[in-house]
Symmetry: C2
C-alpha cells in the first residue's frame, strides 16, 4: 500500500506538474514526448498516463492550443503552444509557487 519515498514525491508533484508544463511551453512549443523528456532531465519523473490527460485538460481550459505536424520518424506529433490565457495562468502560478516556498521557509525557520 505504500512505497514511502516514492509516494512522498508523487504526492508533492500534485498541482506542481501543471505549473512545470506551462513553464516549459512558455519558452517554446513542444509535443508530449518531448515534454516528458525535459521533465525527466530536470529530475521530475512522470509517466505518459499523467501528462497526456493533463495536456488535454489544459487545452480544454483554453490555456493551450495545438497543431499537428508530420514526423519522418513515426506518427504525427501534436505540438502544444501556450495561449494568452495560459500566460495569465502561469503568472498566477508563479505567485502561488513563490508563496508556498516562502511559507515553508517561514515554518522551518521558526
Amino acid at each position: 500500500m505504500e512505497n514511502s519515498a516514492e509516494n512522498v514525491r508523487s504526492q508533492m508533484r500534485k498541482g506542481v506538474l501543471e505549473y512545470c508544463i506551462l513553464s516549459i511551453l512558455d519558452k517554446k512549443e513542444a509535443y508530449a514526448s518531448s515534454i516528458l523528456d525535459e521533465l525527466k532531465s530536470a529530475n521530475m519523473i512522470v509517466v505518459e498516463g499523467t501528462v497526456y490527460p493533463l495536456l488535454i485538460r489544459q487545452k480544454n481550459q483554453g490555456l493551450l492550443s495545438y497543431r499537428w505536424e508530420e514526423s519522418t520518424q513515426g506518427p504525427p506529433r501534436k505540438y502544444y503552444c501556450i495561449t494568452e490565457k495560459g500566460r495569465q495562468q502561469l503568472g498566477e502560478m508563479d505567485a502561488a509557487w513563490q508563496e508556498i516556498v516562502d511559507t515553508i521557509k517561514t515554518i522551518k525557520e521558526r
Copy 2:
C-alpha cells in the same frame, strides 16, 4: 466551476500540507487548532475539514502519537507529537521538497 487563483493554490498545497504539519510538530507538540493558527500565520490558508483527517491519517501511519489534555477554556485538547517514524518520514520529505524546488528552478532557468 473554477476560482482560478484559489484553485491554483489549492492544487499546489496537495502533498505539501502533510510536510508542513510534520515540520510544525517536529519543533513542539501541538493540537489541531493551534496548528491551524500557525499555518494561517505562515500564509498557508487551510480549513478544519482538511487538517483533522490529515492528522488522523498521519497518526494511523504511525508518524504521530497524541495525548489528551484538559483545558481551562473549553473542551479537552488532543496534543499531537511526532514519532521516530515521523522524523524519518520528515527527512524524506525534506529531500523530496528540495528536489522539487530544484526541478522548478532548472526548468525556469532554461
